[in-house]
């Protein structure tokens, strides 16, 4: 094995700066996409459990479509295809004047994709509350809105915190796909350093260590959240 080790390359300019930029973009994409994923995902997930058939059908269709097409292809559809399909003026604006097109596209694509996964967790959470409490709420004269507002959502949101942790981690990992449309996030930067310096080992190690740190940080934060949101006597007793 012939290989010139040079760990110092990671701390030289411009490479150190590239890594820091990469981390910033990774966080910027993942966090913004998470906002979309949570808000759309909760709406769609709740929608799937509603008694209204058309709404439930639409939300199911959303989940099936977004889950069964690879994220990479969704990214390309938003980036290359969507501007051609909207009315001409809008398409022109997207192609010419929209600021940060790669970033916005990545956030929208990743957010709406993750929303379908969040929706599944929300639905599973609501369904796991069980029909007993729902029926009890109806028997007390609660409307559908009240049942969700006071019974189903408060319980199910606390139940789904652990699976949401893994979705939150996944969104950081999936943000690496943005490199395919030219956004220089962490993975892209490490590959660029590898190409410029021929020190692939060091560059990829740096990226790997940073991703592991992100995962550890997110796990610690979510453990705290889990401790505060756990329903006593609900999770421990199987």
């Amino acid at each position: 094995m012939n290989y010139n080790w040079n760990w110092g390359v990671l701390f030289q300019e411009p490479y150190l700066g590239w890594l820091i930029m990469g981390v910033q973009w990774t966080f910027a994409v993942a966090l913004a996409a998470w906002v979309i994923a949570l808000s759309v995902g909760i709406l769609v997930g709740v929608g799937r459990t509603l008694p209204s058939r058309p709404i439930a059908f639409l939300c199911t269709a959303y989940v099936e479509i977004f889950r069964n097409v690879p994220l990479l292809l969704q990214l390309f559809l938003w980036y290359f295809v969507m501007p051609e399909l909207v009315p001409n003026d809008v398409g022109q604006w997207i192609k010419r004047d929209m600021p940060n097109p790669e970033y916005l596209t990545a956030v929208i694509a990743l957010g709406l994709y993750t929303a379908s996964r969040v929706a599944e967790q929300v639905r599973a959470g609501i369904e796991s509350v069980g029909s007993g409490l729902t029926n009890a709420a109806f028997a007390n004269g609660f409307s559908v809105t009240q049942t969700y507002r006071y019974v189903l959502l408060p319980i199910s949101f606390r139940l789904i915190v652990p699976p949401m942790t893994s979705e939150f981690l996944t969104i950081f990992k999936n943000s690496s796909l943005a490199l395919t449309i030219g956004l220089l996030e962490l993975t892209a930067q490490s590959q660029q350093i590898a190409e410029y310096t021929f020190n692939g080992f060091e560059a990829y190690t740096a990226a790997t260590v940073i991703y592991v740190c992100i995962a550890l940080m997110a796990t610690v934060v979510m453990q705290v959240v889990e401790r505060y949101t756990r329903i006593p006597g609900y999770m421990g007793s199987k």
């Binding site: 690879p70 990479l72 295809v81 051609e84 399909l85 692939g200 992100i214």
Partner: protein
């Protein structure tokens, strides 16, 4: 507003079919390899021997916290370096996918093994079977039956993930669609067509999973 050109798809069907075959082949081989190594990892983790379970746990947690694209880059860089000669994109990708997915499969298999009641293994011990006989004839067959639906689901995810070989220009279905899209200047048709193909395959797969789940409950 816009005319959908089916011609470009029809003209390139043989090329697309080749790409799809490569995607399916990569998925199939990676599923087999992933389940094989995943089972070993799961058994190591549940072995109760500290060094073994520590190694397996570290590997699984490490792989699960990095993106697949980074793993693909790693192996494109490492495999030729270790072997001293290039072995072609396909084999590099296959190794990357196998070792990456093994971590995810091992978590599924671990849960599957734990779902087999302890009495089963103890009964095996009482009959005088060795550790490997117990795993081979008692625990694993039941575990795999319990986790069949989740394994297929992971297979579908793996099939979608194979589209990421795009980053190293290996000619799978995704890359081929993109090549045609660019050379023919027909981005809209090709990407929508590719999305439909992926959707049909993966949706059919998830319907199959639902049937498996019903069968396992009954």
């Amino acid at each position: 507003m816009f005319n959908f050109d089916f011609e470009v798809i029809l003209n390139n069907l043989p090329f697309l079919w080749e790409g799809l075959q490569l995607s399916l082949l990569l998925t199939g081989l990676a599923v087999i390899g992933g389940i094989f190594f995943g089972t070993i990892l799961a058994l190591m983790r549940l072995s109760g021997i500290l060094p073994l379970s520590l190694v397996a746990a570290t590997y699984v947690n490490l792989i699960r916290s990095v993106p697949l694209i980074l793993v693909i880059f790693w192996f494109y860089f490492l495999v030729p370096l270790i072997l001293g000669r290039p072995i072609g994109s396909f084999y590099s990708a296959l190794i990357a996918f196998t070792l990456f997915e093994a971590a995810y499969f091992s978590e599924i298999i671990r849960a599957g093994i734990q779902s087999v009641r302890q009495g089963q293994g103890q009964a095996g011990q009482a009959t005088g079977l060795s550790y490997f006989q117990i795993q081979r004839h008692i625990v694993l067959p039941q575990a795999f039956r319990n986790m069949a639906p989740i394994l297929v689901t992971q297979g579908i995810i793996l099939f979608q993930d194979t589209s990421l070989v795009f980053v190293v220009s290996l000619r799978d279905f995704m890359t081929v669609s993109s090549i045609i899209a660019r050379t023919e200047g027909r981005l809209i048709e090709m990407y929508i067509f590719a999305a439909c193909v992926y959707f049909v395959i993966c949706f059919a797969g998830s319907l199959f999973v639902r049937r498996l789940q019903k069968a396992s409950i009954a």
